[in-house]
């Protein structure tokens, strides 16, 4: 009886010891678990690599301090500084007044896992493998693009060839006309004796006297002069294509396109008022306090803030003062996309006026666009009344979108 009890006791004891042993050695350093713990607890202040965020970058942290010290530090950093630990005090002096948060809830194994993850992340071989995979994928995509564009280039090539043949025909025609007009056969030996300029002078003189050529030239002249005049007249007051060099080479393509920053983040007034607003430097600084601070273009923001002087952006889109336009009415109430009037801003390196912004352009849209009356009780009665009149699809023009005094007052 006692024997059985004893063997039972020893059995459980060995089992417990075994579990403990396996938990400390077998699962102690699990980088996958470490990654999860790192992103949840550490990533807001520490980078895995060398970059300094709020606290130091954790690359080679295991070489700077030994594991036991790190575990103690992470669990109670303030206590270590208070106790006068030399390394801890040095670290605190470097990052004063910020004190690292204590992570008493993390077990020794958790911390070991995190350290294992940091070590794994910084060991070199993993990165190039991923890099080649990406490069391979990129290459494939580029090839696909190549095929597509080669088809396009084929069409261009054929078109160019046709143009060249036409030009050859035209040149040949001119040559025969010139030959016919020449008094001396240009291929005869006596023609070679006459100097080149004399020959040219004679040929052009004769060409000038030919009535067919004169009529043709006059017609071409009148047509081109007419086109230049009409184009010039239509272009008065229309700044379409205006894309001035701005004081800072800001790229919408990078910010709105690649990094997908919403238009509203910087143009804060677009849903709230008449103007969309040009962001003040403090909005730039939300990211550029850390990102690419050494670039000369970004230095311009810092200088503007230091001197407390505005950055003088050149206004691109401007409606004449005689017309009233309100952004919030169109964007917030009407639900229009910015791109509808401003073009594909997220693809523009330099901001450009894409639309004409003429009155005809405004009116055209007011005629075509249905009123966004969904979930907007302001329009309930209007919709009802229009339905009675047989207008099912209420356009902006139906509710006064063409009235002069809506915009001109």
């Amino acid at each position: 009886m006692i024997k059985r009890a004893l063997s039972y006791f020893f059995g459980t004891a060995t089992a417990i010891v075994l579990t403990l042993w396996s938990s400390t050695s077998g699962f102690a350093q699990d980088p996958a678990k470490g990654e999860q713990l790192f992103t949840n607890n550490c990533a807001s202040c520490h980078n895995v690599g060398e970059q300094k965020l709020i606290g130091p970058g954790l690359k080679d942290v295991d070489k700077r301090h030994d594991e036991a010290w790190l575990i103690k530090w992470i669990k109670n950093p303030a206590g270590m500084v208070a106790s006068g630990d030399e390394a801890a005090t040095k670290l605190y002096d470097q990052y004063k007044p910020i004190m690292m948060t204590a992570f008493g809830s993390l077990s020794d194994d958790d911390i070991k896992s995190i350290l294992a993850y940091v070590k794994e992340k910084n060991s070199a071989p993993a990165a190039p493998a991923a890099g080649t995979a990406v490069a391979g994928g990129g290459g494939g995509a580029a090839q696909g693009d190549g095929e597509q564009s080669s088809g396009f280039f084929g069409i261009v090539l054929v078109a160019l060839l046709v143009v060249m043949i036409l030009m050859l025909v035209a040149l040949f025609g001119i040559l025969t006309v010139l030959n016919r007009l020449a008094t001396v056969d240009p291929s005869s030996p006596e023609a070679q004796k006459i100097p080149f300029f004399a020959r040219l002078k004679e040929s052009t003189g004769k060409l000038g006297n030919s009535p067919a050529f004169r009529t043709g030239a006059l017609l071409l002249f009148v047509l081109l002069a007419g086109k230049a005049t009409v184009d010039g007249m239509y272009g008065i007051g229309i700044h379409q294509g205006f894309a001035p060099k701005q004081p800072i080479a800001f790229s919408h393509k990078l910010h709105a396109g690649e990094y997908k920053i919403d238009c509203n983040y910087c143009h804060t007034g677009v849903n709230k008022g008449k103007q969309a607003n040009i962001p003040s430097p403090n909005i730039c600084m939300n990211c550029h306090n850390a990102i690419k601070g050494s670039s000369p273009e970004i230095q311009k923001i810092y200088r503007a803030i230091e001197k407390d002087q505005p950055i003088e952006w050149i206004r691109v889109h401007n409606l004449p003062d005689l017309a009233y336009f309100n952004h919030s009415q169109h964007v917030n109430v009407g639900g229009l996309q910015c791109q509808q009037c401003h073009g594909e801003v997220e693809k523009m390196e330099v901001i450009e006026q894409r639309s004409t912004l003429t009155m005809g352009w405004c009116i055209d849209c007011h005629r075509k666009t249905s009123v966004n009356s969904k979930d907007n009780h302001y329009y309930d009665k209007l919709v009802e009344i229009h339905k009675k009149d047989g207008v099912k699809d209420m356009k902006v023009a139906d509710i006064g979108g063409l009235e002069c005094s809506k915009c001109h007052y």
Partner: protein, 208 residues
């Protein structure tokens, strides 16, 4: 005279061909028919045609906008601070929040609560606003993996142990004054919008 006629013709043709094939110079605006009707006589906040003679004296160049008098606060709901409506609650919260300084995170945690009721509609509006002001850093599900966040670094995970229980006041205060790596966003996001975002962030905190 007749001797030079061909040259005159050639020169005229060149000028016309040049004019006809001219593309507008993107560096300059087009000709204007009546600039005195296009440009406002009064000062506009975001454009300046002639130098501003008043503000140039203050050393601010052509700045049209003036800094409000120190201590100025917007009072759009001033008349309605009494009562139980959302707007009066919002205004009351705003009054309290304005007296909480950038370093008083602990005070904000206890003193502020969301004036908006917890419902689907507000959360939905919060989601829209979150997309505008937060998503590019904090990511679609609040995991700190937005396209800008990856480059900026140090963007926390809302659902992590440290952040998943943070209350209304804490989140509101962090949006207003920033915390750690995050800079203040109070100038961009109105108090009303901040509270709506707070409600949506609560939803993201629960997301695994």
């Amino acid at each position: 005279m007749k001797k030079y006629l061909p040259f005159v013709w050639i020169a005229a043709s060149l000028v016309v061909v040049g004019l006809a094939s001219l593309k507008r110079d993107p560096q300059h605006q087009a000709w204007e028919f009546a600039p005195n009707m296009y440009y406002p006589v009064g000062y506009e906040p975001l454009s300046q045609i002639d130098a501003n003679p008043i503000n140039s004296a203050t050393g601010k160049g052509n700045l049209n906008m003036r800094v409000p008098v120190k201590g100025t606060i917007p009072r759009q709901y001033f008349a309605s601070t009494d009562g139980d409506s959302v707007i009066s609650k919002l205004e009351k919260m705003d009054m309290i929040a304005r007296n909480i300084g950038p370093n008083d995170l602990a005070v904000a945690e206890t003193a502020l609560t969301n004036p908006f009721p917890t419902d689907e509609k507000v959360t939905k509006q919060g989601e829209l606003l979150y997309g505008r002001y937060c998503l590019h850093c904090h990511g679609g599900s609040g995991k700190g993996d937005g396209p800008v966040g990856k480059k900026y670094g140090g963007v926390p995970v809302y659902s992590s142990d440290a952040l998943k229980d943070l209350n209304d006041g804490h989140i509101y205060h962090v949006i207003t004054y920033g915390k750690g790596r995050m800079w203040p966003h109070g100038s961009q996001v109105s108090p009303e919008d901040r509270w709506k975002i707070v409600q949506y962030v609560h939803k993201l905190q629960q997301e695994p």
